[in-house]
């Protein structure tokens, strides 16, 4: 598959904010002094009165959003996922999840593809943390097109949502016209031997792997499982029953991510052979995005290897 780079998902987020601002007058956007990096600045420039920059303070950022949401506003709050999720977690827990408030959280710079800035800037545990909160929807889009669509869906949906965006330009994996719904995976390729469930940048890697597996006579399904919670259990079950082999790929720590969610579900409903491509309980480091994905085991050759392993080939 040709590696055609599109916009970064964070850019798609910033642009989508302009669209939802026009559809939903209640939308207010907030940032913690990273708007130029999260791209909420695109909204700030067009709608300065509906934009609040709180400064470098994530806990208060979330708390203020809670107050706004309780008065009927729809706050979209963004910062780096690494800081927003960990420093705002107590506030997400009591203020947003427990309070059942309509706060939308967009963590940028997810995963290790952040690159040169290094491990302190990389969120590799955000999905584990946010899926642990009752009622939170958790989404990891794969490319610009799906990010735009899922931000629009997020604005329509009533309730707390966490959506992760990334720093680097994202390879295009979806065709225009594809429908994206919260909680519904998108099948990009249908196969009979193994099912590869992926989200974020891993969707492209999974497609690359599937193409090469086909050359070796292995037929693989590839699903963009953008929503980690609620999980598209119907699609997972259908795939698991057909292929009997499920490989989950994510740019996240192996504990508590998409892989854990899928495994928990399949262990109950349809135990089958499973494999996991994820960050193996370690922090990453500085380097180029591609180099890091390779070193930490997230590129397509690693997916091919993992797929063959569960297939016993």
């Amino acid at each position: 598959m040709e590696r055609k780079l599109g916009k970064a998902t964070r850019d798609a987020y910033g642009e989508a904010l302009l669209e939802i601002a026009k559809i939903h007058p209640e939308v207010v956007v907030m940032d913690a002094d990273l708007s130029k990096a999260t791209k909420s600045v695109i909204f700030a420039d067009q709608f300065p009165k509906r934009f609040i920059n709180v400064g470098i303070q994530e806990a208060n950022l979330v708390g203020v959003a809670v107050g706004l949401a309780s008065c009927g506003k729809i706050p979209f709050i963004s910062s780096f996922a690494s800081f927003l999720v960990s420093k705002g977690f107590d506030q997400f827990r009591m203020g947003v999840a427990f309070s059942e408030l309509n706060v939308k959280v967009v963590g940028s710079h997810g995963g290790i593809s952040v690159g040169e800035d290094g491990a302190s800037q990389m969120a590799i545990e955000d999905i584990a943390l946010m899926t642990s909160l009752p009622g939170f929807v958790v989404i990891v889009p794969s490319d610009a097109l799906s990010t735009r669509a899922l931000i629009l869906e997020t604005a329509k949906y009533v309730g707390p949502v966490y959506l992760r965006t990334g720093r680097p330009k994202a390879p295009v994996v979806h065709r225009a016209g594809t429908e994206f719904k919260i909680g519904k995976g998108v099948r990009l390729r249908e196969g009979k031997d193994v099912t590869i469930l992926a989200n974020g940048l891993e969707v492209f890697e999974a497609l690359e792997a599937a193409e090469r597996l086909a050359e070796d006579g292995i037929s693989a399904s590839v699903i963009d499982m953008h929503t980690v919670k609620p999980l598209d259990t119907e699609l997972i079950l259908e795939e698991a029953k057909r292929t009997g082999h499920v490989l989950v790929c994510e740019e996240h720590q192996i504990w508590g991510g998409l892989g854990s969610a899928v495994a928990t579900f399949l262990a109950k409903k349809h135990p089958c052979k499973m494999g996991f491509v994820a960050i193996q309980d370690t922090f990453a480091e500085s380097g180029k995005s591609d180099e890091l994905l390779e070193k930490y085991g997230l590129t397509y050759p690693h997916i091919i290897k993992a797929a063959k392993k569960i297939l016993g080939r």
Binding site: V28, K49, R50, I52, V54, G55, Q57, A59, N60, V62, G63, V64, A65, V66, G67, L68, A69, S70, C71, G72, K73, P75, D90, Q91, R93, M94, G95, F98, S99, E100
Partner: protein
């Protein structure tokens, strides 16, 4: 709602204190000390200062109150019940399984509770959000927050303090229930935040200092606070933990421990 006179408010405060003692006694748990210290503020707010409607708790133009020190829930519930949000007879269901009167306030369960609290330090931020929503919507309501001396230990308090002043957030009036104790010991011995008045002034909050048990001072401070434009307001209310019950006053043993049956009877005699 009809606004009560100072004398009527004093009588209401006594009634609220009786509820606090009875409900923590019935639950055999809860936080009587810090509930008794913020009683006058809540009574002055719900029965004189605030525009609100117990028959329509979601009225969009209502004034809002956030009890940031959520462990003082007995005081909040008593005020809400007396104001007509629910039947005061149910107050003794406090902390019982299935009751909307949760240990700490839960906005999903009880009408009139504006914010779920209990993790300290979050109320000011929520209040800022409500005050900013007011500004965006061109409404005139006020947002009140009751915070505590212990909460000043929390970093988020100071994030909120700096941000509110920078954004010139007004129609936001906070009370600091300064009863000089936190769970483990006196504030002086755990994490002394003095000079408190100077801190809030330095953070560019319009600051008043009052006797938090003097109803007239509470009313007067809020009337002045409402005239402040372009600044958030902090009313530092000096209070006594356990106020109104002789054996609870200044006695930190009643921070998070309920009175026994005998102590309830003795307290009710004092509050007759």
């Amino acid at each position: 709602m009809e606004k009560l006179s100072v004398e009527q408010l004093k009588a209401k405060a006594k009634l609220v204190r009786r509820h606090i003692v009875e409900m923590t006694g019935a639950a055999a748990s809860g936080h009587p000390g810090g509930s008794l210290s913020c009683t006058e503020m809540l009574v002055a707010l719900y029965f004189n200062l605030m525009e609100h409607n117990p028959q329509d708790p979601q009225w969009p133009d209502r004034d809002r109150l956030i009890l940031s020190k959520g462990h003082a829930s007995p005081a909040l519930y008593s005020a809400l019940a007396e104001a007509g949000y629910f039947d005061p007879k149910t107050l003794t269901d406090f902390r019982k399984l299935g009751s909307p009167l949760q240990g700490h306030p839960d906005r999903r369960k009880l009408p009139g509770v504006e914010a779920s609290t209990g993790s300290l330090g979050q109320g000011l931020s929520m209040g800022i959000g409500m005050a900013l929503a007011r500004r965006l919507d061109n409404k005139n309501y006020y947002t009140y927050v009751i915070t505590s001396d212990g909460e000043m230990n929390e970093g988020q308090t100071w994030e909120a303090a700096a941000m509110a002043a920078h954004h010139k957030v007004d129609h936001l009036i906070a009370f600091l229930d300064y009863n000089k104790f936190q769970l483990d010991d006196s504030t002086k011995n755990i994490c002394d935040m003095e000079p408190v008045v100077e801190k809030w002034k330095a953070f560019r909050w319009h600051t008043f200092e009052i006797d938090g048990h003097d109803i007239k001072e509470v009313l007067h401070a809020v009337e002045k606070a409402k005239k402040v434009k372009g600044e958030p307001v902090m009313i530092i209310a000096h209070t006594v933990k356990g106020k109104g019950v002789s054996f609870m006053e200044h006695n930190n043993a009643f921070h998070g421990v309920a009175p026994t049956k005998d102590q309830v009877q003795q307290a009710l005699k004092e509050l007759a």
